[in-house]
């Protein structure tokens, strides 16, 4: 039976990349000099799985490369090698290289062997260096090519008693293959015990009746030998006995000889070793998400309730002739229940798309580590709220902006250690990444205790770039807003990390595309905080239905501050153009919806009209509407799928009666009211069309 092995490739790659992430975070958590055994073990296991997988699937370059890493890790694991900064860095680079190699294998593009070769050399150098070890030739890559602790080479080989359980063969394990692998380690003699073999008529060919006594004449670690059997550990009785030098060769009844490479002398203390890599679990392909089982269970419960509610309503339905108040009451109850069920069901379904934000945060320890080294800065990264859940789509898109902001903090925010000491600050700077829920939003904060923004410099720069005039008076908010203008960078010195002046505008644009927002607050000398606000999900929105003329629009509930009836005495008019409305101590510009959207409205007078105060992008505005209708959850549909982006509109939805209603983009509307569209009305449109 031929199995198409390529169908497992996707799974292999996915798991390998996960393994690389584990390795990376593990390496970053390693304390130099005093490595924690569990961490090293975890890293080793990940490397080992990648090696095993890549060998199985025929990515020999990857396997070979990983082998070198594994050797080093193995030595760290058994304590025969100290964890040094140098080796950790090399391993980190190797992780990167491996990621590229795997990526190249997946995309079927040529692998950059040069880099791999260089790193391999480096690994070998480390392996052959200190710890009173003996350098061994590196030709025999497949065998363990280094010796770590050279005590006396007292091991002559291993006697292995191997007795598979009856059903071991069913799991696809083949003793012959394992023996062949053993033979590669050294001289192997195999003795078979056929005493359990039944008569031919009783024999089930899928069962295993045999047991073996294997004698391996090679000076190898027990771990090496054990490794070959690790897949069948749970499916056999196995016993390893060290052969003393005096032990003679066992009888060669069934002899499998192999003239493979002879392993260099090596001994280790194997007694404490555990860590047999677990069998990798099968997973799904890349366009899928992993959902924890309790989320699915919750969903099933919900559906169960829905079914109950449905049958409850169904019972009412039988005798329509006798439809009295009592039944009406029951029907109403049922509908209330149904509404609740639907909402809960919807929430559970949404929750399936949610991933903890640690997915996005995980890459930062590495980045901070690398950049600190490059810039000679000392920075500690603190993260909180990693378990905050975020929609998968949002997660994918927020990654890059976050990277940019963190880089900025590292590069421009945190000062050099000397400067920090001079400024009476602790030498090590702190960057905090916080994620939490607030209202209907997810807030992500990137906070540093660095130099903060120099407002004067921002202003000077903006003047220089011609963004503002030199005598313009700007509020703090306005000044920080300049940072997000295209082509604006305050870095005095360009570095390859940031400061090319592209970025902040892109950051803001990306966040806005997600329906979110970004704010900055900063204090000179104390630090800077970027606050990103993101919607919980992109697919559904709580909306307030408003009526303008004959049209119904949906205002996102999260952006509504309040709604009120206009009182004439609070309306102020500036220069006959801008109307302001006084709400308590605030003056809020009035946006006449029908003007902006070119609609015939009933309510052309402000008197008695309704004002929906909305907040977007840190600014408030009052939308003049004719009427407030209900509130409801709406499913967001894209206008861009079949049309294009429309200013002031973030999308569309379908109302209960099947008609389409547009969802207002509050930020866009405020923007629109300030700079009325050039093609705002019909006549200009036609001009444009003809042109």
């Amino acid at each position: 039976m031929a199995i198409d092995i390529t169908q497992f490739h996707e799974t292999f790659f996915e798991e390998s990349f996960e393994g690389l992430d584990i390795m990376e975070s593990g390496l970053l958590n390693l304390d130099i000099g005093a490595a924690d055994n569990d961490t090293v073990n975890a890293i080793f296991r990940a490397a080992h799985s990648i090696k095993g997988g890549s060998a199985t699937f025929g990515f020999s370059e990857v396997a070979e490369f990983t082998h070198g890493m594994e050797t080093l890790l193995d030595e760290m694991r058994d304590g025969s090698r100290d964890v040094t900064q140098e080796s950790v860095d090399t391993l980190l680079q190797s992780v990167d290289c491996l990621r590229e190699m795997l990526g190249a294998s997946r995309d079927k593009t040529p692998i950059d062997l040069e880099r791999a070769e260089a790193l391999k050399k480096e690994l070998e150098k480390i392996l052959s260096s200190d710890n009173n070890s003996i350098k061994s030739p590196s030709e025999n890559d497949e065998s363990n090519n280094t010796a770590s602790v050279s005590e006396s080479s007292g091991c002559d080989g291993w006697e292995i008693k191997f007795k598979p359980y009856h059903d071991m063969l069913r799991t696809g394990n083949d003793p012959v293959r394992m023996f062949r692998e053993l033979a590669e380690l050294g001289d192997l003699s195999v003795e078979i015990d056929i005493s359990q073999l039944p008569a031919l008529e009783d024999l089930d060919p899928e069962e295993s009746y045999l047991s073996w006594k294997l004698t391996l004449k090679a000076d190898v670690e027990k771990e090496k030998v054990k490794e070959i059997f690790e897949w069948v550990e749970d499916e056999c009785d196995i016993e390893f006995n060290e052969l003393s030098a005096a032990t003679d060769k066992a009888d060669n009844t069934a002899n499998v000889m192999a003239n493979a490479t002879t392993a260099p002398p090596q001994t280790t203390d194997n007694s404490k070793k555990t860590a047999a890599p677990k069998k990798t679990a099968t997973s799904t392909d890349s366009a899928s998400i992993r959902v924890s089982i309790d989320k699915v269970d919750a969903l099933i419960n919900m559906v169960g309730e829905l079914v109950i509610t449905q049958s409850m309503i169904g019972q009412l339905d039988c005798d329509l002739d006798e439809f009295d108040n009592n039944r009406m009451e029951k029907l109403r109850d049922g509908l209330t229940l149904l509404e609740r069920n639907t909402r809960e069901l919807q929430e559970s379904v949404m929750r399936i798309r949610m991933l903890p934000i640690s997915f996005a945060f995980n890459r930062f320890p590495r980045m901070v580590h690398d950049l600190c080294q490059k810039l000679n800065k000392k920075i500690e990264l603190k993260t909180t709220g990693e378990q905050t859940e975020l929609d998968k789509t949002v997660m994918e898109k927020i990654g890059d902006p976050l990277v940019h902001l963190v880089r900025n903090s590292i590069d421009h925010g945190i000062e050099m250690p000397e400067e920090r000491i001079a400024a009476d600050k602790p030498e090590t700077g702190i960057i905090e990444l916080n994620a939490f829920h607030k209202g209907g939003n997810i807030i992500i904060e990137i906070k540093d205790d660095g130099a903060g923004f120099n407002k004067e410099r921002i202003k000077a720069k903006a003047v220089e770039r011609g963004l503002i005039s030199s005598d313009e008076q700007l509020s703090d908010e306005k000044i920080y807003d300049l940072l997000f203008q295209p082509g604006f960078s305050t870095a005095e010195q360009l570095s390859d990390i940031s400061g090319r002046g592209v970025g902040m505008d892109v950051v803001r644009r990306n966040i806005r595309e997600l329906g979110g927002n970004i704010d900055v607050s900063s204090e000179m000398g104390k630090g800077t905080t970027f606050t990103i606000r993101l919607p919980l999900t992109l697919a559904i929105l709580d909306g307030q239905l408003v009526c303008v003329g004959s049209e119904i629009y949906i205002t996102p509930l999260v952006s509504i501050v309040e709604s009120l009836q206009i009182k004439k005495e609070f309306v102020n008019n500036i220069a006959g153009q801008t109307e302001l409305y006084k709400v308590r101590d605030d003056y809020i510009p009035i946006v006449r919806m029908h003007n902006i959207f070119g609609i015939d409205a009933e309510q052309k007078n402000l008197e008695g009209g309704l004002l929906v105060i909305v907040e977007g992008d840190g600014k408030k505005a009052g939308l003049l509407v004719d009427d407030l209708l209900g509130q409801q959850q709406v499913v967001i549909k894209s206008l861009e799928t079949n049309y294009k982006r429309v200013d002031g509109v973030s999308g569309a939805t379908i109302l209960g009666d099947g008609t389409v209603a547009l969802i207002l983009d509050v930020d866009g509307l405020i923007e629109l009211s300030r700079n009325p569209p050039t093609s705002g009305n019909t006549s200009t449109n036609q001009v444009r069309e003809v042109a």
Binding site: F597, G598, K637, L662
Partner: protein
Amino acid sequence: MSAAQQIDSNTSVDVMTDTDQYLTFILAGEEYGVDILRVQEIKGWDNVTPIPNTPDYIKGVINLRGTIVPIVDLRHKFSLDAIPYGATTVVIVLKVSSEDGNRTMGIVVDAVSDVYNVAAEEMKPPPDFGTISIDYVKGLATVEDKMVIVLEIDKLLNSGVLDTSDSLLQ
């Protein structure tokens, strides 16, 4: 999407026989044709939700079984006099392809007419009108002594309708 696949396979058959089928419709007395394989469906005129700040010929959007589909009034687009929508007024829902994928759009026409087979060699290129750009006309076909203006809907509905940067290009 089985319909789309089916249509694709049909296309290849048609290329071999070199005859294309066109759905024709009436607009201000003239008969226009569109490649029938692009027609997704024909439906009666129903109310649309207007989109603010868009050109006049975009009547608005409709809900086509859960997707939002923009509707173009072809009379407006061709700068013809508007007439009140009547019993024969229909919306032809078309698949439009552009660089960034396929879109679904609807066009409002006076009435649908017929389906004709037109061989490629029967199609005549549109005459040169000089300054007037008519690159959305694929050709002119003569069917039963009538002239049918065959439209290139991709060009017709992408230009100006979808292109947000058209003002920059001109």
